[in-house]
Symmetry: C2
Subunit: 200 residues, 2 copies
């Protein structure tokens, strides 16, 4: 199996944590990639018209994307159990969607404040995206006490989202107003799959 | 069941087509909503920190999002069969991700050229997003001859994506370079679930 990979992408990180947790990481070849929304990667685009990481190829040569699809494929192929069944599955998937929304909003804010030329930046856009991030953090802070030993596609997503905030928004100081989420994130950080995938 | 709904959203449309196809549409109450990325909807945010449509509530009061999760929940609860199993499922989900990517890119291009004040617009950003749309259209044109009678979460996504291009980018003229996709889209448009959900 192969994956177009970037060590900075929180969506790639989610897939790589899943790969490690289900026992498949050493069967996946990492293909370095530099995907961007303006300078679009021609190599990835030939496989995936969206030109995004992660893009994945199975041993049969089928190309799968995006991160949600790859994560579920790996869970199904490997040890599994990260998605759950019944009501637990819908909860996990909704948490995963919230985490993806947090990461997507943070990524758009990053593009706005880093990639876009300064004269074309619109503060209200960044505020809207970071408002999503703030609302998602607030939800996490309110619910994290009930997570117990949960380690599933939803909580993996939150780990990737919080890790991305630390990586790209080190001055945000999200821990100040979210001490429970901060303690939970620190505990999750002890897990080998999380430790091995810290963004660089 | 309830759904925060906008008749303009291609992601809402996807869910509503699924609801009709699996026989659940008349059990879902539509809650009108005006979600936006800058003026964020406070009512939706209270349920879903992302403040987006579609946001859905089950009869048990569980709140589910985003469109992928709701679509799969409805498929599971109703007549089902729109996701498939085995290799077909991964193909359908990847096509659905491609369609979501097309819709997301078109939505970002729309925000850039419609919502954002003119002085803050960055043409390279719009080009990048519409490049994604063009690449996705090219893939569809190349593969649509093999779709046969497919009507699943992947092809539903393409219907919603093409319908959104007609709705918001009427001058794009995507049919000119994609005659096979255009013929396929016209045939899909005869389906009652598709006809009943044309964006307005």
């Amino acid at each position: 199996m192969k994956i177009y990979h970037s060590p900075a992408s929180p969506f790639v990180r989610k897939v790589m944590i899943v790969a490690r947790e289900v026992g498949l990481a050493d069967r996946i070849e990492l293909l370095p990639a530099k995907a961007g929304p303006v300078d679009r990667d021609a190599t990835i685009r030939a496989e995936n018209p969206l030109g995004q990481v992660p893009t994945f190829a199975t041993d049969d040569g089928a190309v799968l994307y995006d991160s949600r699809v790859i994560a579920e494929y790996l869970d199904d192929l490997g040890r599994g159990g990260l998605f759950g069944t019944g009501a637990e599955r819908w909860r996990n998937l909704t948490d995963a969607a919230l985490a993806d929304g947090l990461m997507g909003a943070a990524l758009l804010a990053r593009y706005e404040t880093f990639l876009r030329p300064a004269e074309f930046r619109w503060p209200a856009w960044t505020d809207g995206q970071m408002g999503k991030v703030a609302d998602a953090l607030g939800r996490l802070e309110g619910e994290v006490a009930g997570y117990g030993a949960r380690f599933d596609i939803g909580t993996i997503g939150f780990v990737c989202g919080l890790g991305y905030l630390d990586f790209r928004f080190p001055d945000l100081g999200w821990r100040d107003a979210h001490p429970k989420a901060a303690a939970w994130f620190a505990a999750m950080g002890e897990r080998p799959s999380v430790k091995a995938t810290i963004p660089v």
